[in-house]
């Protein structure tokens, strides 16, 4: 099974682990992430203004490339996933947006036909967590792990259609498939502060503390995330409370892929 793959800017640089362990795990699980050619940065935030069109063109180009390839487009980064899924919805439903795009560049004619999937959705919906479980050679028995969803994977629920936006279970089910114990806590879908941590560290610190302290209170000993910005903020602001890693690293460890390497980098 082959999926088109959009890594995004951070996965080639500061979040290489999120990328590398996903590719290795995919291979073991029998599918391939085939990076699309000449992708451009998604912009990291979805442009909400109705008159903002140019900032969406990199996403449209990627989505259209996948449509031409006849494959679903997979992302790992929460931000890329968020932006691509929402621009895809715009292309499907907003005729004015489509008209502006093609007036700007005929090659941007696109009607939202590509299926955008997060890597976790691939595991749940295309591979199946039962198959993931069957492939685990190093079950993470006894590990108490909190899923940190953050904001962008889930909201707005009507567009993201990723999971129940207020009571998600996909990452908990993923943790179970790896043999570990998921710890459910209230703050798991609250914001880490996002980009605000650039200039207002104390705001982000407060939010990250609230998340980490709630997770610990419910018994979590570590957190996993799909978002490089969540990982950065929580590590930086609340790293002394509990460690946070990418979900793909945990997956690779459970699948017996460079387990020692994964642990050493934790």
């Amino acid at each position: 099974m082959i999926f088109d793959y959009y890594p995004g800017c951070t996965l080639n640089t500061k979040a290489k682990e999120l990328d590398i362990f996903a590719r290795k795990a995919a291979e073991k699980l029998g599918f391939e992430l085939r990076e699309i050619e000449d992708w451009q940065c998604c912009g990291a935030v979805y442009p909400m203004g109705a008159d903002v069109v140019a900032s969406k063109t990199p996403s449209v180009r990627a989505l259209k490339a996948s449509q031409d390839n006849g494959r679903a487009l997979v992302t790992l980064c929460s931000a890329c996933h968020h932006v691509l899924k929402r621009v895809n919805r715009d292309a499907a439903e907003d005729a004015e947006f489509r008209a502006t795009l093609t007036a700007y560049d005929e090659e941007l004619e696109y009607n939202g036909g590509t299926e955008v999937l997060h890597f976790l959705e691939v595991l749940r919906d295309k591979i199946g967590f039962d198959k993931v479980k069957a492939a685990v050679t190093n079950p993470l028995i006894g590990r108490k792990i909190g899923a940190y969803y953050g904001c962008m994977l889930l909201r707005p629920g009507a567009v993201m259609a990723f999971d129940d936006p207020e009571s998600p279970t996909i990452i908990e089910d993923f943790i179970k498939a790896l043999g570990a114990t998921p710890v459910t806590y209230a703050m798991r879908n609250e914001c880490c502060g996002g980009y605000i941590s650039l200039a207002e560290k104390e705001m982000s610190a407060k939010m990250c503390h609230a998340v980490a302290e709630d997770a610990v209170r419910r018994g979590a000993e570590e957190l996993i995330t799909a978002c490089p910005l969540c990982a950065y903020n929580v590590k930086k602001q609340a790293g002394d409370i509990l460690p946070i890693t990418y979900f793909t690293k945990l997956l690779a460890e459970a699948l017996g892929l460079d387990g020692e390497e994964a642990k050493a980098n934790a």
């Binding site: 990291a44 931000a79 629920g157 650039l198 705001m203």
Partner: protein, 129 residues
């Protein structure tokens, strides 16, 4: 400064949400993680726009405290998207000369080796458009 009535209409149109559906329940403010740092809270922000007080909003700290986490959008029982209204006013602010929320010089002192590109790209989009 543009004609205030015209500007309000433009801002509402550009937000792609229907502010008039607001029933002032305050759920958006209850859900907002930046509530304490905002001078005009999300539910108030909607009311300001309804009565056309754009000037008050253009100088509001709220424009630079909203995280676009979409908690208010998700939890509004009336399907209003306060984050989109804030974004629309923020766009109006940064499109004015000197209206950016941060300068490049401000950013230089805040960099560190672990900072993901995602953070910088997002911050530049939000603070400078």
């Amino acid at each position: 400064m543009l004609n205030p009535a015209f500007e309000t209409k433009e801002i509402l149109l550009n937000s792609r949400t229907i502010a008039e559906k607001c029933m002032k329940c305050g759920r958006c403010s209850a859900a907002c993680p930046s509530y304490e740092q905002m001078d005009i809270r999300p539910h108030q922000f909607v009311s300001y726009l309804m009565r056309g007080d754009v000037d008050g909003l253009l100088s509001s700290t709220t424009l630079w405290k909203c995280l676009s986490c979409f908690a208010c959008v998700q939890r509004c029982p009336r399907g209003v998207a306060p984050a989109q209204l804030i974004e629309s006013v923020r766009l109006a602010a940064i499109r004015q000369k000197g209206g950016d929320g941060i300068t490049v010089e401000d950013v230089v002192g805040e960099l560190d080796d672990e900072m993901p590109q995602q953070l910088l790209v997002a911050a530049f989009r939000k603070y400078k458009g």
